[in-house]
Amino acid sequence: MKIVGKSVRKVDGIALATGQPVFTLDAVPPGAAVGKILRSPYAHAEIVRIDTSRAEELPGVLCILHHGNVPRIPYTTAGQGWPEPSPYDSFLFDRKVRFVGDRVAAVAAISEEIADEALRLIEVEYRELPAVLDPAEATAPGAPVIHDEEDARGIHDPEHNVAAAIDIRVGDIVRGFAESDVVVETTCVFPYVQHVPLEPHCVVAYLDEEDRLVIRSATQVPFHVRRIVARALGLPLSRIRVIKPRIGGGFGTKQEIVLEDVAAALALRVRKPVVMKYTRAEEFVAARTRHPMKVRVVLGAKKDGKIHAIEMDVLSNTGAYGTHSLTVLSNVGSKTLPLYNKAPHLWFHGKAVYTNLPVAGAYRGYGATQGYFALEVAVDELAEKLGMDPLELRLKNHIRAGETSPIFEKIGEGRAGKAQVVRSCALEECIREGARRIGWEEKRGKRIREGNWIHGVGMALSMQGSGITDIDMAAATVVMNEDGTFRLLVGATDLGTGSDTILAQIAAEALGVPVEAISVYSSDTDFTPFDTGAYASSTTYVSGGAVLRAAREVRRQILEVAAAILEEPPEELDLEGGHVVSRKSGKRVPLSEVGHRAMYVTDQRHIIATASFVAPESPPPFAAFFAEVAVDTETGVVRGGKFVAAADCGTPINPALAEGQLEGAIVQGIGHTLYEELRFSPRGRVRNPNLFDYRIPTAADVPDVEVVLIPSDEPTGPYGAKSIGEIGINGPAPAIANAIHDAIGVRLYRIPFTPERVLRAIRAKSSA
């Protein structure tokens, strides 16, 4: 392959590096009004009265929306496929507020200052209701009911605040544990963490000259935005156009409709462009977070280390609304349990419950991250109890190519899944290569001391998926220009991942041209074909599959035209270096001649093709993670020394970008492992909604991160590719937890591993 497998320069790299106006807020129409949201000061309250008269009298205020003057239509803000697996428990504005920061009203004004002043002038009378902040208390008898509205749909058990629940059994778990020689039980706790994209949520909404609503938004899911806004506002889909410019990071939080619905409603009301953007504080409080979880894992194994039974019990906190509640919960098991597919007895069960806290949603890793934290700490404990090297234990149990797991069939996306055989898996090589690079043999169990620091090493495995089987669909259009260059139109959304580049590489490879011959455009619901969007590690596999199909169809059309020129059968022709070349005669014709002839000369046609690809299955990428940490036993400070990740993403289409995805995910994972946690007041207010108090890793905190890609060939993927976007975030928490144990013999089950928690655990152990 000439283009695939090469680290070509990002197609949007120069524009980004030179500060071209490529982002949503770089193009605000002149005269745009500013939209702002009034937020609830209470965790749970009924809005008794809302008086906007004083605010409306303020010069420059254009309109104020609240529950009293907008249609009441239940919907979900989760940008997912159809049928939507998340409950319809949200309204544009509601009579009730369910967390501190919930929407109460929205203002459009001619300036930000006036909009802010108008928010202050809105008088709201609340009747405060008892709130529930602890997910364990949310389901207790007598707990306040958070979603008591009658028109919500799809909530599992609203009376007990259960948004979603799951119960999956394979074999006989009781027998499984009874037959096990060793049983370990581990419970790990994952707190509230936020994505912290560089660019907060932002949107511009306006009416075009034909009175259609245009929404320019930093979104991962432009087509879902169109569908959901149509539903929320009761508009025909055909009246909405969504444009996705460059995105300054998403990580899942932009798989949510948190501003587009309000901006659209305001723009329709004032008939002027409306611009809205979240502040950093709003991003923390009122965008989305990862689902905080308590995950209990019980492992049963035979003396020889064969894992025989796995129970996984999940309590997920979805916050005030149930977006992604069922699917994130499902993924805790569906993305983890197949890794140890030899166990015949499985029980995966759990609940996602409502609380009066910020709303959890999609976040890179999507439940798998929380699941792997508990599972991989439990596997480490199992190894300890068995007296085995945790690496050997994992090698003995992990899934291989040609194997399957009943979980694939049992758990799908909010419904049953589909049986699937793993066709490509280089996990064993990943484990061995990662171990070699970290120095597993030399360092494990040695507790090397260096001043106040004690070193330890730990490991964890992970798999993820590549798109959602039978749901994720992408289409791509490849258009040939008469000069022999191409346009690639995709609905896929490059959120900084580099997907535009790798999609161009896939097309270029199929068309025998350099990447520079392909102009990529993504995405605009009016002009690019459908794509479910950038989530679930789908773009390389699903959108890439569509691009490959469309490019191959264009290739067929090119060869047909060239065959007429060269007077040879198309089967004898190849595309190479911008030419059509005959394998038989060596005769060649440039693509520019083919394009020109097709467009202007003979048998005229536009060489163009659109193709779709539906994920036929979801081939998992695999990774082995190794952490070396140093612990200061007197202060509890944990310092990352080295982090190695060896990953199998099939064929890396662009190795530098794949490595970048892995490195970025690892650093983000180190963030939640060591520093990040949203803290709440007793009344449910976020106490640290800023980067001064909520710490994320800086460049200076990043340890020596070494990533290595071990290729495999995924037969269902474009040029053998699988995903790489999410998997890296699953490793740091368990690998670092296990490394801390290796260093100081203390197990930690709650992230982040702050000095206070580490020191407390050390002291508890030494006094025990």
Binding site: N452, E634, T635, G636, F692, A700, L759, R760
Partner: protein, 284 residues
């Protein structure tokens, strides 16, 4: 924000007269660090003193003098500061915030803001630094340690801090800090200094802990315990235990009192050991 005017003060006199004219609705701006984090709503005028000739570092009459608007990064890179106490203060600066912020933040700003979690006050209190400021026609001065016992925020609403003076010390200092990650404020910090007499006994000791979460405080009892003793491993441990008993610690969102109580002796011991090693290294 209600700011209407931005003034570049040509000198301290102009800054003072503007401050007076605003009658409480003016604010002095140097690095702008704290103003950018939030400003009192009544502020109408900002008075930029970075143009008032208050930057610079020099030795005079046995003191190291640092102008109030000298940035923390200028302090860190200064040859004079690097030569002062083996570069102790330069090392402290390397712990403060991040490079871009250190290029804006000023030493005077750090003294006036005096955030309890900050590193600069801890170091300056340990060093016995003196602050000089102008109120109207008068130049006033006080040791920073003493200044912090006064209503210093009220003083600096009508005064301009002009200079920090650092005395010469025969001995060595060391700084310790625990924070959540790089560039973060301290969960706790500590600065200790020691000097030896001709017989090798401790002539003087300075022991300061800060971010407890309270502002830097000298632990006089620990200093007294050390004075006159001969440096030895057990002595640092003894001093550390005394510090654990003496230090005032509390809870905040970042860390609980229990953890701070446990870590005070650790960082005091480490700082004393490092200071002692430096002193004895000099002797050798």
């Amino acid at each position: 924000m209600s700011v209407r005017r931005y003034h570049y003060a040509r000198d301290v006199e102009e800054a003072l007269s503007l401050l007076e004219a605003y009658e409480g609705r003016g604010a002095i701006l140097a690095g702008g660090m704290d103003l950018s984090r939030g400003m009192a709503p009544e502020i109408e005028g900002l008075i930029d003193i970075t143009t008032a000739g208050l930057s610079g570092i020099s030795w005079a009459n046995g003191d190291l003098r640092i102008g109030a608007t000298t940035t923390l990064e200028e302090v860190r890179l200064s040859d004079e500061v690097r030569g002062y106490l083996g570069g102790f203060l330069a090392e402290v600066m390397a712990h403060v915030a991040t490079l871009p912020l250190r290029c804006m933040a000023t030493l005077g700003g750090a003294v006036v803001s005096a955030h309890p979690w900050a590193d600069v006050p801890t170091a300056l209190v340990a060093l016995g630094a003196e602050a000089r400021w102008r109120t109207g026609e008068k130049t006033e001065k006080a040791p920073i340690e003493e200044l912090y016992r006064r209503p210093f925020r009220a003083i600096f609403r009508r005064s301009v801090l002009t200079e920090i003076r650092l005395p010469r010390w025969e001995g060595a200092f060391a700084f310790e800090k625990v924070s959540r990650n790089a560039g973060d404020i301290a969960l706790i910090n500590c600065a200790c200094g020691l000097g030896l007499d001709d017989t090798g006994k401790i002539a003087w000791a300075r022991v300061v802990v800060g971010a407890t979460p309270y502002r830097a405080e000298r632990l006089a009892a620990v200093e007294a315990l050390l004075a006159g003793e001969t440096p030895a491993e057990g002595l640092w441990e003894e001093a550390a235990r005394k510090a654990e008993a003496e230090a005032r610690v509390g809870d905040d969102m970042r860390a609980p009192a229990e953890w701070r109580r446990a870590v005070v002796p650790v960082i005091v011991r480490r700082a004393l050991e490092r200071a002692a090693n430096a002193v004895m290294g000099d002797e050798r």
